[in-house]
Symmetry: C2
Subunit: 272 residues, 2 copies
């Protein structure tokens, strides 16, 4: 294999770091592949590191020594984050999103992969320092956001089923009361989906009273899991008292007025 | 802002191309940002292009002229693809995956974001030339694979709901018979989730007789959608005759023997 120029190595290393976020990569991967000394690779990485730092792309950490390696933790610059959250608020303020009953049509947004990708990156950066082992969500609308968070944290996704129908061996089910509409519902999680004593974060799209998040937390105690944090894309101003504490919301929904066809929603830039 | 060296520009351009797959990016984005001539950016891109080509990372196409731009279509080298599919077959051959009734436990695998990411890349490369406008799947297990396919194709994801409960305005529902277990089930899709006359691909995790895929195809005719192709991670050897034609499966499940605790599954490398 011909010699690689620095500029070519940089292209390859940048790609690998971006595709393996939050994974400690041994320097040997690169020295073996390019057939160069570790010091050469270290210089390559330091160039990438400076660019990433300058543009707020996230943190690159290097560890020296025999077990040395490089780890990339994705990030979003405060400016990009603010622009992104404002663009989401703008999209959600469109009155055609008001559904019967004063609900807000969110599906296209949470299933928009560019949106889910950015939300995942923001939550991964926010919760990364807590070193969670699993991301937990409940089907269906929370899945894309939770999945992208899991991708950027490089940890598995665990999906609680809505209802009691689980065909995957023994499962734990929980009846819970939705906080806002006071309906009784069931959620279930297969025993083999989550090892006991795991550290987890919960990610979901929307929180009104917090009944679903509280239900998930209770279900998770059956797995002796520790919930390190809860992240939702949107929470509501009312009710002010939620059934769970210590959660992070990226946007706050202040009002959906069905008769006046008005939606008020704004970014919570201080939260993340 | 200080001058950027080529090596630094390459880092930034590589990152942007990787994060915006299948999106035509104007050269002006780069000339404005770096304050350099278009010819300089073209040279930068040609370096990245050669590296990507050499390592099978996908195709970079450039268009010249006033509306000129650059477009990156991700790809996976045949060797990586074969290694990946073999690793999935190996993971799935573990007898502890056999569930009562001869089903196979797949959940951890399809919710493994590294797996979903690779499957998405493979399907995006396979179906990209057909220029689909939407990726359609049905909840729940198909979602991660469909989502990553949508991400790499840079098109939206549309999720058919399992059951009749849709709270998102008017919806079309369809009762269908699952091909293998002959149960009657319902699937629904919100009217606002998909514009009429769209070109779509269907992505799912598993196909036995093809009843679900056939149901989705029928439901989509209500939206006057054209189904350009169907991709599933795994299909089964039996029944040989499926209810849908023209689908692509990455792996074939030959046998799940509950009493002998044996699973036979192998990659279909010729398919993609």
């Amino acid at each position: 294999m011909k010699n690689w120029r620095r500029i070519e190595r940089i292209t390859v290393i940048t790609k690998i770091l971006l595709e393996k976020p939050n994974l400690l990569l041994s320097m040997n991967i690169f020295t073996d592949f390019f057939q160069v000394a570790k010091s050469t690779i270290s210089e390559d990485i330091s160039i990438i590191k400076n660019v990433f730092q300058r543009l707020g792309y996230g943190k690159i950490q290097t560890q020296t020594g025999a077990g040395g390696g490089v780890l990339f933790s994705p990030g979003v610059s405060p400016q990009k984050k603010a622009e992104f959250l404002q663009s989401i608020a703008d999209r959600l303020s469109d009155p055609s999103r008001i559904l019967t009953g004063g609900f807000l049509y969110l599906t296209d947004l949470v299933f928009d992969v560019q949106v889910a990708d950015m939300v995942g990156k923001i939550f991964a950066e926010h919760f990364g320092a807590l070193s969670p082992q699993y991301v937990v969500t409940i089907e269906t609308k929370g899945i894309p956001l939770a999945m992208m968070t899991a991708k950027y944290l490089n940890i598995p996704l665990v999906i609680v089923r809505d209802g009691g129908r689980v065909t995957e061996g023994s499962a734990v089910s929980l009846n819970y009361v939705t906080g806002s509409s006071r309906h009784i519902r069931t959620m279930s999680l297969s025993r083999r989906a989550l090892p006991t004593d795991s550290k987890v974060i919960i990610i979901d799209d929307f929180m009104k009273a917090g009944g679903t998040a509280k239900g998930m937390s209770e279900l998770l105690t059956e797995f002796k899991a520790e919930v390190l944090g809860i992240g939702v894309l949107i929470d509501t101003e009312i009710p002010e008292q939620k059934l769970v504490k210590n959660y992070t919301a990226l946007l706050k929904l202040s009002k959906v007025d069905e008769s006046k066809r008005e939606i008020i929603i704004y970014p919570q830039n201080g939260e993340v």
